[in-house]
């Protein structure tokens, strides 16, 4: 069997069962399954086989707006089918009860949710997932409800009304008997104001070598379309790119289309999308553009790489300062977007209705003509052996280090008061590793150098399990060069280490006086190595370190070396640019084929809007 969904479970933010819909057989209940699912360490893969459940099940999972969606199957089901189904469920629910999905919205619309889930899958076979078709069979809290400002309004178009409208019913009957002529569009669509919107969103992902050379630059694009137009319109959307039509065909790679798009037309003339849209918002097409096409068989590194324009580039210089414990992040911004001499956007900004598309569309538009670079965040993954980052000095914006996620985030403001964006901003930080909190080998430690060496290993293994040394958090430079002072402090911590088990999670950095009561921090991710084991492993192999002492003593690692191992080795920058696309693709025209369209008056000139958005979600990545 290709796919059988036994049940769909939805859990709320606190992982309490929210919706439990069983399609077939008797899968484990939502509350019984959850602990088994959560038993798997994070991050959980989207497919989990749980043999301990009764009966054994495979669980397909996805998370949307903090709600956990699970699809359960007892038999071998195509995983992508189950996941696609879950995503459709999410889209449809967003469509019907409003995006973003909230627990309260779902609770207030249980009857709608029940009908939807019932319609979308019948006895384990996925059968009807077209939003337009579902609108036919499930009464919606329709536009009328939205008009009245109600969220969570149960079905507005009442059954009494439905039965008093013989025309509507007869039409429905007609379509029911013939089968839907266009499966994705519901018949008899009427809008008072006809509107068409095209949103092209491109997501940029660039990888740069330590030298600054580009390794790859990929763009994945999505064309989201909103059609609020009466009758059955036949639309023609033409795209263009710098260099002409024939370039476009080669440029847009691996496109996928909504079923409404006529593939033959695209094949014949790449860049032309001819289609009858569904009513409402939908993803018309997806594509990708390789900004850096490299022949796989190429022997020499390509030379044309430097031409690529990027609005933000990040760089890291490591091991600075006297002890090599500092690093500097340099962010180079450039807002001189190529090919943006004048405003070319036909429409004015609007607030997206954001149903099935990513929510970033719903941000308000800017009235300015040029592309706007926004939401610049530099993320630097920090090694787990780094205890704290001090002295964060940013020339612009402010930075924050969250030890639990091991991420240093630096936000650079882009508002009007930020002035000109173009230029370089820097962030300088110094890192400090873990002090020698472990005292079991205290006796064997003879000098500070070895201590430092041990520290490194310890920090490496113990990152999530060690606890704060009271002394360390007070001194900025943890690797203090005064050995006597160190020893004293160590003794202090010996007492507590004897009673506190190694399993205690790391204390929050913000709590310097936590020596007495290590408070567990649940958000700290656990490393795959069980803490106890690593502890013993470390302690045990310490003698081995001294073992070959009679031959050549290992070269002592200097402070600089220790610090070098604490340095970050990559940085990435996230940003969004409104009004600019890295691929240079543009909407050339959007026309209604009057000859083939029906139900739309000749005189009606629908309002058309086009929006471009480039996002990079930690997409520009620099190795170092």
């Amino acid at each position: 069997m290709s796919g059988e969904i036994d049940a769909v479970y939805i859990y709320d933010e606190q992982n309490a069962p929210l919706v439990e819909h069983v399609y077939r057989s008797r899968p484990p209940s939502a509350s019984a399954l959850l602990p088994l699912y959560l038993a798997h360490a994070e991050p959980r893969p989207s497919l989990l086989y749980i043999p301990s459940a009764s009966p054994p099940v495979t669980v397909f999972s996805t998370v949307e707006s903090n709600l956990l969606f699970l699809a359960i199957s007892e038999v071998d089901t195509e995983p992508l089918l189950a996941l696609e189904f879950l995503h459709r469920v999410i889209d449809v629910l967003e469509d019907f009860v409003g995006a973003p999905l909230l627990t309260t919205k779902i609770q207030a619309n249980y009857d709608v949710v029940a009908q939807l889930l019932n319609e979308m899958c019948d006895g384990g076979t996925v059968c009807n997932t077209e939003p337009n078709a579902l609108q036919e069979v499930v009464e919606v809290p329709g536009w009328m409800g939205k008009l009245l400002g109600g969220i969570g309004v149960p079905g507005t178009s009442t059954p009494t009304l439905g039965s008093t409208n013989p025309l509507k019913q007869s039409l429905a009957a007609a379509s029911a008997s013939q089968g839907p002529a266009i499966p994705w569009r519901r018949p008899g669509v009427r809008h008072t104001s006809n509107e068409l919107y095209v949103d092209i969103i491109e997501s940029l992902s660039v990888t740069m070598a330590p030298s600054g050379r580009l390794l790859s630059a990929l763009v994945s694009g999505t064309i989201a379309f909103t059609a609020k137009i009466s009758g059955v319109p036949d639309l023609l959307l033409s795209l263009s790119a710098p260099g002409g039509q024939h370039v476009l065909g080669r440029k847009i790679e691996l496109p996928v289309f909504h079923p409404c798009v006529r593939l033959a037309r695209w094949k014949e003339r790449p860049g032309e999308l001819s289609f009858i849209p569904p009513d409402g918002r939908f993803i018309l097409a997806g594509y990708e553009v390789d900004l850096l096409p490299i022949d796989p068989d190429q022997e020499e590194p390509p030379s044309h790489m430097e031409k690529l324009f990027l609005p933000a580039i990040v760089d890291i210089r490591k091991s600075l300062g006297s002890s090599g414990s500092e690093f500097e992040v340099r962010l180079t911004l450039n807002t001189n977007f190529p090919g943006q001499s004048s405003s070319s956007r036909p429409g004015v900004p609007r607030s997206g209705s954001g149903t099935s598309t990513p929510s970033f569309l719903s941000g308000g538009g800017s009235g300015s003509s040029g592309p706007a670079l926004e939401e610049i965040v530099v993320s630097v993954p920090i090694s787990k052996s780094v205890r704290h980052i001090t002295d964060m000095q940013a020339s612009r914006g402010d930075a924050q280090f969250t030890p639990s996620s091991g991420l240093l985030e630096w936000r650079v403001p882009t508002g009007k008061d930020a002035g000109s964006l173009t230029g370089t901003a820097t962030l300088r930080c110094s890192v400090s590793g873990y002090p020698s909190a472990d005292d079991d080998f205290d006796d064997s430690v003879e000098d500070a150098d070895e201590d430092a060496n041990a520290n490194l290993l310890q920090g490496y293994y113990e990152a999530p399990t060690s606890y704060n040394d009271a002394s360390a958090s007070t001194s900025k430079k943890t690797r203090s060069s005064d050995p006597s002072k160190r020893k004293k402090k160590k003794k202090k911590s010996t007492k507590k280490s004897s009673r506190s088990a190694a399993l205690h999670p790391e204390d929050a950095e913000e709590d310097p006086g936590a020596a007495t009561s290590p408070s567990p921090n649940p958000s700290i991710p656990h490393t795959p190595t069980p803490p106890l084991q690593s502890q013993s492993q470390f302690n045990a192999h310490l003698p081995a370190f001294f073992a070959p002492s009679s031959t050549s003593r290992p070269t002592r690692r200097t402070k600089a070396q220790v610090n070098a191992s604490l340095m970050p080795n990559s940085a990435s920058v996230s940003f969004s640019v409104r009004g600019w696309l890295p691929s240079g693709i543009k909407v050339d025209s959007l026309n209604i084929d009057q000859r083939r369209s029906r139900g739309l008056g000749e005189s009606v000139k629908p309002y058309k809007g086009v929006k471009y958005l480039c996002v990079s979600n930690r997409g520009v990545e620099r190795r170092c």
Binding site: P43, Y49, Q115, T125, T160, I182
Partner: protein, 834 residues
């Protein structure tokens, strides 16, 4: 217009009212059961609906809602569609708990099966089959039978969906159900066929005889089906193709590739030609399928793409799968949860056909925010693609791996080092580069990295020991500085394994000597290796200096000049260090130990001294091990001791210690999944799913043997009358019924509009001549049946609207348009198919 305006105001007022009431109702979570019961018993539909909503909310909140069963079931006959829907949902959910009460509702549902509205009929059929009370299986079966003949495709679809449910109720209904399936599989509506195929897969996936005559129509409808129907059909057809199209190869001359599809004649001609090569001959029906699949590669549904890939990979020649690789890689654009599954499939495909993926190497670069399960697979893809890339990309991949091996995530470090090893293994031209890089890692302070690098180095050395003698030397140098026990153990093992082979350049005894000094402080795992090394050294020593035998054994062995030199330097350095001590030890015990050393008398004087020491070393080592705290180590030492007790019989020891080790091969981690079916959950779960995979997992059958396949004419024969499916097997009466049904299908709108609910069996309103004519028209051509049908439909629709003067202009127009649109779609689909 006025009418609609009034409606709108009404609707607005109502929704406002609901809004007001509901805002209070839904926030207060507790409803008194009495209140709900009262609502359900109310005579006002509105109140009943309200009550039902509350019951459903309770049900979804997992609060007790079973108490309302009788009150709810009463409403099953409600005329209100909304109420009915909710009652049905409740009924299906709870019927198992209250089978007796549920049976009371069956009558009302059965009545709804003959309702004039197709929507009501659909719901009734779906609900009835969903009630899990086995007693009603016959009634359900009958309902399905009626549904199969319904004029509304929605009802027929519901019938198809009900078939597996009925089968689960009572497996004895299988023969009847298969009969219904046969009808539904030949349905002209693509969205009836999709669920029918799904039902077939659920019910009787091996009964391929049912498929033969529908094969071509299924292939043709594939493009038009919805995604879920496509998935089921692709699966069915992939299995079908394996069972029905034997793999035929044909010898073809290299110069005449155009003779590809010609038959035996061509083959005979080529028989005596020298430059022959075998070409796979594709069945035209199989080619039809593969071509139809190509269009689906632009589907937005990732599962469809993987299904097409599966179809191409297992059925088609290489050029097909090459076209599907791009769309498969494009699945990396999907959200992370799907990306993971896509990557599993990519790995499985890339293991079989790596070449086409090389173009997309850039897609597999690991990003900083990839979770472990994603980067693990990406690294694997990179190593698989490595030998197929150009120099540029090879360099990029290696430096990427090197970058990650210096990272801080221990898992990532380990995986990337292993990946480097696999790269070196797969492409010998870069093996040297990889090895150099790995050797560089050994001095890293990161113990994890060091031990993992050493493991990989060991594998590389073992694969080609002859050319890595120097590498072993280099490793020994690191022994002094490496603290990681695994790393030390690995190096010591390597020394024992390879350095002892060449007797003239033997550094092993010296390494052993130095190691023994720190013996007490070593980890157990290292101690074990030291003891093993000692045993090997001693054994080599015994073999080379057998008591009074073959003195000239060593002499003719030539050895290269250069390594010997470096060896010498090394040797001196080490001996200088500890010469005094060992000399002392030697002197004290020389007398006792001398008894086996006679064999060495024939070699030079200087060597005799060192040989002497080896025995001493061995004794000393045994002594050390004997008093070790670990009993395991003591046992091992005892074993070796007794093995090597008698110097003259070394055969057993030789077998045990010096047996050639199998060359370790580090395969791609997913190599074990290679044979699992693409697109299945078992592929992702892997070995955890057990030997047979997850329940319900079936791998593709092997290609059918030529000559065993079903007659191809089975497919051609019945495909022509697409709309009147199985003329041969139908009785005349059945054919009459069928024609009438079709007649009904086209004329239902007018009926619906008149509002008169007609009985289901239509007394012949048309004359016999008329329907005969119609059938002829429909069966005229084979290829154009679909569009033909679309045309007739739209024509009839037009006449209908003419008959209806009161209907609204705009809506009618749109209706008409939709029909001509279908036609367009059909035509287009056919163009694509050609």
């Amino acid at each position: 217009m006025l009418e609609t305006a009034r409606e709108l105001t009404l609707e607005a007022a109502q929704s406002a009212a609901i809004n007001r009431t509901s805002s209070t109702d839904y926030t207060s979570r507790t409803y008194s059961p009495a209140h709900i019961k009262k609502l359900l018993d109310s005579r006002h539909e509105r109140e009943v609906l309200d009550g039902m909503r509350k019951v459903i909310s309770l049900m979804y909140r997992s609060e007790p809602s079973l108490t309302f069963f009788s009150a709810v079931v009463k409403n099953v006959a409600s005329a209100n569609l909304e109420v009915k829907k909710l009652v049905y949902i409740y009924l299906v959910h709870h019927a198992e708990a209250e089978p007796d009460l549920a049976l009371l509702s069956i009558n009302a549902i059965q009545k709804s099966l003959t309702d004039s509205s197709p929507q009501v009929r659909t719901m009734a059929l779906r609900t009835m089959s969903g009630i899990r009370v086995p007693v009603i299986s016959q009634i359900v079966s009958l309902a399905i039978k009626r549904g199969c003949g319904d004029m509304s495709p929605h009802v027929r679809k519901a019938a198809a969906l009900a078939i597996p449910k009925c089968y689960r109720l009572d497996p004895n209904t299988l023969p009847q159900l298969m009969g219904y399936l046969e009808i539904l599989l030949g349905d002209s509506q693509y969205f009836v066929v999709g669920p029918a195929v799904a039902a077939f897969l659920d019910l009787c996936p091996d009964e391929i005889d049912l498929i033969h005559k529908h094969y071509r129509s299924l292939v043709k409808k594939l493009v038009d089906m919805d995604e879920w129907g496509q998935l089921a059909t692709l699966r069915l057809l992939t299995f079908y193709a394996r069972k029905c199209f034997p793999q035929r190869t044909q010898k073809v001359k290299r110069t005449a590739p155009e003779a590809f599809y010609d038959d035996e004649k061509q083959q005979r001609d080529n028989q005596n030609d020298v430059e022959e090569y075998e070409v796979q001959v594709m069945d035209p029906d199989l080619e039809l399928l593969l071509r139809a699949c190509k269009v689906l590669l632009q589907s937005r549904n990732s599962a469809v793409i993987v299904s097409v890939v599966r179809c191409f990979l297992y059925l088609g020649p290489l050029e097909y799968i090459a076209t599907a690789v791009g769309p498969l890689v494009a699945l990396l654009r999907t959200p992370q949860d799907m990306q993971l599954i896509a990557l599993y499939n990519i790995v499985a495909v890339a293991l079989r056909v790596p070449k086409p993926f090389a173009k997309y190497t850039a897609h597999f670069l690991v990003h900083a925010n990839d979770p472990p399960h994603i980067w693990r697979l990406k690294l694997e893809v990179l190593t698989i693609l490595f030998p197929h890339c150009g120099k540029h990309w090879k360099g990029v991949i290696i430096s990427e791996l090197e970058h990650f091996s210096k990272g801080t995530d221990p898992e990532l470090v380990r995986e990337s080092v292993r990946a480097i090893g696999r790269c070196a293994q797969a492409d010998t031209s870069t093996a040297g580069m990889c090895l150099r890089m790995l050797l560089g890692q050994i001095s890293s302070p990161d113990g994890n990295l060091v031990s993992e690098s050493l493991t990989v180095i060991r594998h590389l050395i073992q694969q080609d020991p002859a050319s890595h003698k120097k590498t072993v030397l280099q490793l020994v140098k690191h022994l002094g500085s490496t603290t990681h026990p695994d790393a030390r153990a690995t190096i010591i093992w390597l020394v024992g394994e390879f350095a002892g082979i060449d007797p003239e350049n033997n550094i092993a005894p010296d390494v052993l000597r130095i190691l023994m000094k720190g013996f007490a402080d070593e980890m157990e795992i290292v101690k074990q290796q030291i003891v093993l090394l000692g045993a090997k050294v001693y054994l080599h020593h015994l073999l080379q200096n057998p008591p009074k035998e073959q003195p000239e054994q060593i002499a003719p062995q030539p050895f290269p000049e250069v390594p010997a030199k470096s060896q010498q330097e090394f040797h001196n350095e080490w001996t200088d260090n500890g010469n005094d001590e060992s000399q002392d030890a030697e002197r004290t015990e020389e007398g006792e130990q001398n008894r086996q050393e006679n064999g060495g008398a024939e070699t030079k004087e200087t060597e005799e001294a060192t040989e002497d020491r080896i025995t001493l070393l061995w004794r000393y080592l045994l002594l050390l091990a004997r008093y070790d705290t670990s009993y395991d180590l003591r046992d091992r030492a005892r074993l070796y001791k007794s093995l090597l007790e008698t110097p003259s019989s070394t055969q057993l020891a030789n077998l045990l210690l010096l047996a050639p080790k199998p060359v370790p091969h580090a395969p791609s981690p997913s190599e074990t999944r290679k044979d699992l079916l693409i697109g299945s959950a078992t592929l992702v779960v892997g070995s955890d799913a057990g030997y047979h995979g997850l329940r319900g997992y079936t791998n593709l059958p092997d290609w059918v043997e030529p000559g065993q396949e079903p007659d191809p004419s089975l497919r051609t024969e019945d495909v022509k009358p697409d709309t009147s499916i199985n003329t041969t097997s139908m009785t005349a009466g059945d054919r009459l019924d069928k024609a009438l049904r079709e007649h009904k299908t086209t004329y239902i709108p007018s009926r619906g509009r008149n509002g008169t609910a007609m009985p289901l069996d239509p007394a012949g309103k048309k004359t016999l001549d008329q329907w005969l004519q119609e059938e002829e028209e429909e069966t005229e051509t084979e290829s154009e049946t679909d569009s033909e049908e679309g045309e007739t439909d739209s024509e009839e629709e037009e006449t209908d609207s003419e008959e209806e003067p009161g209907s609204e202009e705009e809506d009618d127009e749109s209706e008409e348009e939709t029909d001509s649109e279908t036609e367009a779609v059909h035509k287009e689909a056919q163009q694509l198919l050609r």
